[in-house]
Symmetry: C2
């Protein structure tokens, strides 16, 4: 059994209105030293595979086919034994 | 300038219907070896602080006050120089 920890983030060139809203909310709570906030997704998946290489290949395909939108998002992940 | 990479995840005892939906969607695409899927948030924040300890204290407070819901979510983060 393997566990994948996947981060989905907006590409740097894409506007992030949700991040801006969170930045303003933090500032209104008194956090005045924030330069920027970016919102993304964090996904954990446990899966069966015969080895780590196969698990990584599967997770990469999941990211490309469903979990991320490749037009506006980047993904990165780490696979470990679980 | 420091950069914080924050993960917000549902506590293990809390039901995750979004994760279940994503699991079913992946299965319908032919990924049949998935045991479980958990959805969470990934937040990046750049902020000014006089040292790493102060930056970590600030980020921890942000997580408790706004970014996470402590009743149903856990958070973890890493702060690095940016």
């Amino acid at each position: 059994m393997f566990e994948a920890a996947i981060k989905i983030t907006l590409k740097k060139t894409v506007a992030d209105p949700q991040g801006l809203t969170v930045k303003h909310a933090l500032e209104s709570l008194g956090f005045n030293s924030i330069a920027n906030v970016w919102m993304g997704k964090f996904i954990r998946i446990t899966l069966n595979a015969k080895d780590k290489t196969e698990a990584e290949a599967k997770v990469s395909e999941m990211c490309k086919k469903l979990l991320s939108n490749p037009i506006i998002e980047d993904f990165s992940f780490e696979v470990s034994n679980a």
